[in-house]
């Protein structure tokens, strides 16, 4: 009995050493396990380093051109997200500029606006946003709407002041109820906090998902599957898979750790659960992704390319279905149910629960259970692996 157990450890050790040696000889491995994750981390962090895009180019069509409208233009220009860079003489010109992609929005003040306002004839102003560019369109919409509200309020306030009201009272009379926003967990609305720290780990999970059937399949491709199975793994699929996957899991986990250190220690992204908790969640998801890859490869009986294709399509969809940009609750019920089958969805939910809100892990138990279920998937395919080792061949 003691002999046999020693054997297993010895076998695993031999398999691990074999894997590491293999990694060191192929540049592609270096690319996938080191260069790609680091590049992606640098890419997303530098891309969104501004946090919230500021000074988006916008235009103005001021047909009225009085001192009042010029004040409005200055107010709008001073707003955080808006840069009123261009001035156009007509609506058509502004629309054409928008079609050329020079501006994301423009503000229109028709002739006679000031006069109508002074004579109490309720003038109408307008703003046009290009919502084909969603983020830019929404941000500019917010600014322009606030500015439009402010004009009306400014005029009302003047009226109340003229009636002899004090400054505060006039403001309260103009706007009795004000709304105050409290974005929970991300007070500055930093897009990087909201996107980078899911997308970069998501990319690592995508790489894991594709890499797993790739490395397993290489044994078949190189025609060594029987030798490995019989001699090194002692005819045990479990030993083979553990020997194959543990070294890469370690290396990918290191990359995950790098991300966590950069996000939560260096950039101080909100993280109420502590960095190690996020690391633990990341490792759990890496293992889940690996197990999914093992499952697909086993199911397809060693058809390496097909397994890789399925895994890559699965991994790419997970960015959309996980609900980090477009909420899953707004999707079709079928998709809401399907979202459970994607490890990234659980990573996202656990991130929200743990890092963003710092709630007890208990509240996120369904995701933990789901990830643990992923870890059991390979058990279903062990008999299929046994068959694949004996009979399946690489299909050129």
């Amino acid at each position: 009995m003691a002999m046999k157990r020693k054997n297993v450890f010895l076998r695993l050790w031999q398999l691990w050493m074999r894997e590491l040696k293999f990694f060191s000889t192929r540049p592609l491995m270096l690319v996938v396990m080191f260069i790609a994750p680091v590049t992606l981390l640098v890419f997303f962090l530098s891309l969104m380093s501004a946090g919230l895009p500021t000074d988006l180019p916008a235009g103005i069509v001021d047909e009225d051109n009085t001192s009042t409208t010029r004040t409005l233009v200055r107010t709008l220009d001073a707003m955080e997200n808006t840069d009123l860079r261009y001035s156009y003489s007509s609506l058509t010109e502004a629309r054409e500029a928008m079609q050329r992609g020079e501006i994301y929005a423009f503000f229109h003040i028709p002739a006679g606006t000031t006069e109508r306002a002074l004579s109490q004839r309720r003038p109408k102003i307008g703003f046009y946003t290009n919502d084909a560019y969603f983020i830019a369109g929404s941000l500019l919409m917010r600014d322009m709407r606030t500015a439009s509200e402010m004009i009306g309020m400014g005029i009302s306030r003047q009226t109340f002041l003229a009636k002899g009201m004090a400054d505060d009272a006039a403001m309260a009379a103009v706007r009795p109820i004000a709304i105050e926003a409290h974005p929970l967990g991300n007070p500055v609305l930093d897009y990087s906090v909201y996107l980078s720290n899911i997308i970069v780990p998501g990319c690592i999970l995508l790489l894991v998902l594709i890499f797993t059937p790739y490395t397993i399949g290489l044994e078949w491709k190189r025609g060594k599957q029987r030798r490995v199975y019989n001699r090194l793994a002692g005819q045990s699929s479990t030993v083979f898979l553990a020997g194959k996957l543990v070294p890469q899991a370690l290396l990918f986990s290191l990359m995950m750790l790098l991300c966590d250190v950069v996000f939560y220690k260096y950039l101080h992204f909100p993280c109420k659960c502590g960095m190690w908790m996020m690391f633990f969640i990341g490792v759990l998801c890496i293992l889940a992704a690996q197990c999914f890859g093992v499952f697909v490869y086993g199911l397809l009986q060693g058809n390496m390319r097909f397994a890789m294709s399925v895994c890559s399509l699965w991994g790419i969809v997970s960015f959309s279905i996980s609900g980090l940009s477009f909420p899953t609750m707004a999707m079709d019920p079928i998709l809401q149910a399907a979202a459970w089958l994607f490890p990234l969805r659980h990573y996202y939910l656990l991130y929200v629960n743990q890092a963003l809100h710092g709630y007890p892990l208990l509240f996120a138990w369904p995701s933990i259970v789901a990830l643990l279920c992923f870890l059991l998937l390979p058990l279903l395919t062990l008999p299929l692996y046994r068959h694949a080792f004996r009979h399946a061949k690489y299909k050129p």
Binding site: M48, A172, R175, E180, Y194, M308, F326
Partner: protein, 391 residues
């Protein structure tokens, strides 16, 4: 005439190699046909409606109840719970039953009668920007509406409707969301997704066929046949196959996918196809150039798939181009998708003509030209290598 028949034969061999590999068939035929449908299905609802929110009503007055009712009536949110305290609302948030809560202060009425400004807090879960956007938008709209009523009640009793209107809103305004009237997600993201699917699957297909040839012929980029002796013929032959397949796929996306999901499509079909010509050529030539690095078929799945995400962001469709650092803009210039996404959005969603997408159109032709020369060079070198081996 022989050169033309050579090109045709090269094209035929390429086509056969494609059909023989089910991995390639999957990426070249199945993915462009079905992936856009899947994505459109995911984003089909366009916007988030009826985000569940809770109300923490400290005031419990007719006014606060009116606020809650009006909030519930907005399309953006739905009031699912009344909580006694912020702690209780937070608990509901923990359970994932609500995504935001609105806090009405205890002294709402007193503050208002005292002639001071009352503040209502909107606490939104930042798990998604859209929850925040919906909750804040709904609360702001309701407050503006209520403010009007309050003002009239307090200062303009006995005024006519017209007087009331002038007093409550001396200047009116209109917001016109152009080119995406519902401000929807599918309308905004689908164009970029479709263009990226074309480029990425094309690169995967070419890379996998190229890798397959290397595997079959001991690492050589070309089969050792006399047929493969002129780089120009090889490039043209291969390109012909992919171009024909992909122009059909491109037309399918513009017509069928846009039609089924009712996406904005006000562009002209002719303009679109003209625009696709340099794009598909550029992608094909780039695929051939990149395939020079591919020695094993499966490698290109590892290398190309994850690039889709950075390419989506670099195109400036989700993250505004004005906020992209210069370095990444330069990197983006290497990929046809950057220009194609922007050009396509303008043609398809904004009805631009070919002149209006002139800069993108020219950039795509330049890219196609550069990658064409690079792919010629790649085959030229491979042919020379093979000749040396023979000698």
């Amino acid at each position: 005439m022989t050169s033309l028949s050579n090109i045709a034969r090269i094209a035929w061999i390429e086509f056969r190699n494609m059909m023989r590999d089910n991995g390639v068939v999957l990426f070249v035929f199945i993915v462009p046909l079905f992936y856009p449908l899947l994505y459109a299905f995911i984003y089909n609802n366009e916007t988030v409606r009826d985000v569940p929110v809770a109300i923490v009503d400290g005031s419990r007055s007719p006014l606060s109840r009116q606020f809650a009712r009006m909030l519930d009536a907005t399309p953006e949110v739905r009031v699912v719970a009344q909580c006694a305290s912020i702690a209780e609302a937070e608990r509901l948030n923990q359970l994932g039953e609500i995504y935001a809560f609105v806090v009405i202060p205890d002294d709402l009425n007193r503050t208002l009668t005292d002639g001071r400004q009352a503040i209502i807090g909107v606490y939104a879960d930042m798990a998604g920007m859209l929850y925040y956007k919906s909750a804040l938008l709904a609360a702001t709209n309701v407050s503006l509406e209520l403010n009007k009523e309050l003002k009239v009640e307090r200062f303009y009793t006995g005024a006519t409707r017209a007087q009331e209107a002038v007093a409550t809103q001396p200047v009116t305004y209109d917001h016109v969301p152009l080119y995406n009237p519902q401000s929807g997600f599918a309308s905004f993201l689908m164009p970029a997704v479709m263009m990226l699917i074309l480029q990425q699957t094309l690169m995967l297909g070419i890379g996998m066929v190229g890798g397959g040839i290397r595997e079959r012929y001991n690492g050589r980029a070309l089969p050792p046949m006399k047929l493969y002796s002129d780089p120009m013929q090889i490039v043209l032959g291969k390109t012909a196959v992919y171009f024909i397949i992909y122009i059909v796929m491109a037309a399918y996306m513009f017509t069928v996918v846009n039609y089924i999901f009712g996406l904005p499509a006000i562009g002209r079909f002719g303009t679109y196809i003209m625009f696709m010509v340099p794009y598909l050529l550029g992608c094909t030539f780039m695929g051939i150039t990149f395939s020079s690095f591919i020695y094993r078929r499966e490698d290109c799945i590892l290398l190309f798939v994850f690039m889709s995400l950075p390419l989506l962001f670099i195109s400036g469709i989700s993250w505004p181009a004005a906020a992209i650092p210069r370095f990444w803009k330069c990197v983006g210039m290497l990929f046809p998708s950057t220009y194609a996404v922007n050009g396509y959005v303008r043609i398809n969603s904004m009805g631009a003509t070919l002149q209006q997408v002139g800069p993108e159109f020219i950039a795509l032709w330049i890219q196609a030209g550069v990658y064409f020369i690079l792919s010629l060079g790649f085959y030229y070198i491979s042919i020379r290598k093979q000749r040396k081996i023979k000698k």
